[in-house]
């Protein structure tokens, strides 16, 4: 399905299309960096109508299309490595005026997450989808991947904050799926199918977002703990605390060591601890929060801890969590996995995981961190300095299989929030049944009969 000169001419009649090497390189990949970008061309539509015109041509001529947003994905969902047409929403960034009474805003798919936050903030509202890559990620990409992030524990996934969608399907048809309606019980909610479909059913072009009042003053606490069981005991205590939790994150001492090597930062506690947890809360009752902290100390639940005295300290504590991904990549080659487990089974799973690696892969270092409040673990396996890359990739592939078997036996998910994309395709069957996957394929055939949208991704 290579793109011919004739195809290019037809596409160029519909929108701007580039075949410049710089564009192909930049728009053909995402943050996975495992796959070399090799798209055939990059299209820059400026409206939903232009997207529809482009996809209609691709449908007629059977040209594969890879939808592309902010390219911050970690599963290769936006990778074009086989001569596809990348369709970037980069030039569709319009953000309409905020509807302050309805608490909604309509935006183009290419609007950057942070730009939406900035546009809604003056009205005392926010779109509570928030993560480290908010300065690059697009609303469309967030929706297509049902993005998670650090505030899921309080606000839920992206899915909760999308009221309406305008999508282009694999035939080039434009679908209007709901608008600014909070309530719309009129049959099957097709909109939900597109949220999290990773560009395999249609291209999200516009969205009406549901907004919320931003949280009040947030207190950030950082704890040093003995082991994972204490982290979970702390989480249980926090659930009963006199405040609302907006984040509960965990990292191990190995992550902390990599942070120190790369960024020169370390947890502001008296001594190093095996585990660390970051808790962010909205606590209007300050006395109550301090009394709760007193109980933690009395119960000997934590070794040490601190409470940020101001925004700067809070930001530095967050850096200890949000800087990890970058520091792992800067100090070595991480192989990333993003799994979810039922919270009740986390301790048992982690003990099994530790035992598995100790027995079969003692040469591989695991850096574990994640959104523990959501049962979401980021398992990063680091390449030993002496091992060459190909040998490492072969070895972690083998380790993945063993780990995903563990995930399956603990009734977890092989991809909590990163999606499936290319990277986790081989493992989808460890979480979803053959019957489910067959139904997904049938659904795709309905919206994309020729299979031109993001082929080879997910299933």
């Amino acid at each position: 399905m290579a793109i011919s000169d004739d195809d290019l001419a037809a596409l160029r009649a519909a929108a701007r299309v580039s075949t410049e090497a710089g564009d192909l390189e930049a728009y053909g990949g995402d943050w996975t960096r495992v796959y070399a970008p090799a798209p055939g061309a990059v299209a820059f539509p400026r409206s939903t109508e232009e997207v529809a015109a482009l996809v209609t041509i691709c449908h007629d001529r059977e040209i594969a299309v890879v939808p592309s947003g902010g390219r911050t994905g970690l599963a290769g969902g936006a990778v074009a490595a086989r001569g596809e047409l990348v369709l970037t929403l980069d030039h569709m960034r319009r953000i309409d005026p905020v509807d302050v009474v309805g608490r909604t805003v309509r935006v183009d798919a290419g609007a950057v997450t942070e730009a939406v936050h900035e546009a809604t903030a003056p009205h005392g509202l926010t779109w509570p989808v928030d993560f480290a890559s908010k300065g690059s990620s697009h609303v469309g990409g967030n929706i297509a991947t049902n993005a998670g992030g650090v505030k899921v524990i309080r606000y839920g996934l992206t899915r909760q904050w999308v009221l309406g969608l305008r999508v282009v399907t694999g035939t080039g048809a434009i679908l209007d799926l709901g608008g600014a309606l909070e309530k719309n019980n009129t049959g099957v909610d097709l909109r939900q199918l597109f949220i999290g479909s990773e560009g395999t059913l249609g291209i999200v072009c516009e969205a009406t977002l549901k907004l919320a009042r931003p949280a009040g003053h947030l207190d950030v606490l950082f704890f040093g703990l003995r082991d994972l069981a204490s982290v979970l005991a702390l989480f249980h205590a926090a659930r009963r605390g006199p405040f609302e939790i907006s984040a509960f994150e965990m990292l191990t001492d190995r992550c902390a060591a990599r942070l120190e090597r790369h960024r020169g930062v370390r947890p502001p506690l008296e001594a190093g601890c095996p585990m660390y947890a970051l808790l962010e809360v909205e606590a209007p009752d300050r006395e109550g929060l301090e009394a709760w902290l007193g109980e933690l100390l009395e119960d000997d639940l934590v070794i040490d801890g601190t409470l940020a005295a101001n925004h700067e300290q809070a930001a530095r504590l967050w850096e200890l969590r949000e800087g990890i991904s970058e520091s792992l990549a800067a100090t070595g080659l991480p192989h990333k996995n993003d799994i979810a487990l039922p919270i009740a089974g986390l301790t048992a799973f982690c003990a099994d995981l530790e035992a598995l690696f100790a027995r079969r892969y003692p040469d591989l270092e695991i850096c574990l961190f994640g959104h523990i409040g959501d049962g979401n673990l980021h398992v990063n396996v680091m390449k030993p300095d002496a091992m060459d890359k190909a040998a490492f990739l072969a070895r972690v592939h083998e380790a993945d299989e063993a780990m995903f078997a563990l995930v399956r036996s603990h009734r977890g998910s092989v991809s909590a929030e990163h999606g499936i994309g290319l990277l986790k395709r081989d493992w989808l069957g460890y979480t979803r049944s053959d019957g489910e996957i067959a139904l997904m394929r049938q659904l795709k055939a309905v919206f994309d009969p020729k299979g031109i949208l993001n082929p080879g991704k997910v299933f």
């Binding site: 030039h91 007193g294 040490d304 801890g305 925004h311």
Partner: protein, 277 residues
Amino acid sequence: MKILVPVKRVADPDNANKMKVTADGSAVTSEGLAWKVNPFDEYAVEAALRLNEKGGSGDVLGETVVISLGDDEVIQTLRQPLAMGVDRAILVKASDGEIDSTVVAKALAAVVEKEQPDLVLMGKQAVDGDSNTAGQMLAEHLGWPMATFAMSIEVADDGKALVVGREVDTGVLTLKVTLPAVVTVDLRIVAPAAVKNGVTPDDHAYNEGARYASLKGIMKAKKKPVDQTSLSDLGVEASPLVEYTKYELPPARSGSATFVESVDELVEKLRTEAKVL
């Protein structure tokens, strides 16, 4: 040694709510602001704690006291240095309209007479007014030696003097001041090896920056005394010399972004619209 650290409460610039000015420009409104210890004063607290502790052992070599001027709400801000390890706090009750640097310096001098510290250690300036005057005026009132902009402090002569590295335009100027003295500190005083008290081992690993309050520290701080006094108790007249006539906010930033299709179009727009070529 006994160290007195004056601290000022300032608006936290990272808070979502910013300083506003009333419509007629006659006053600054503080509604919805979050408060914190002036960063340079926080560095002074850290330096004082390093001078007065035997690093890591929990042993203390002398009393460290913080003092501030303001209303009752300031007590909340004083809890932070207390949680960091300061022994007690003094609040001189006063309203914003009653004080400027001169009044502050006089009030501090009166407290120094009472408390008899060996050292007054404070920030070089507050990040709100940026006056950089209170420390100097205080030294003058007391007739004490003074070293401003300290980026290193080393205890000398068996604790009777300090060797202070001062950050100046041309480099570092090293002064020896006999105690009691007034020292104001600059940013680099919280570098890991900036303070040497002759007791803490040289290889003790201090973190860069002011320490965070530990949970134990926060709990202890709730029980530490905050003595309250007032300008009149101290015999200081609330008559500021500085008069503020008008406030205005800096102009808002402007600008927008548009996409261009090609380099030619960009050059064209730079020439005709932006008029920068």
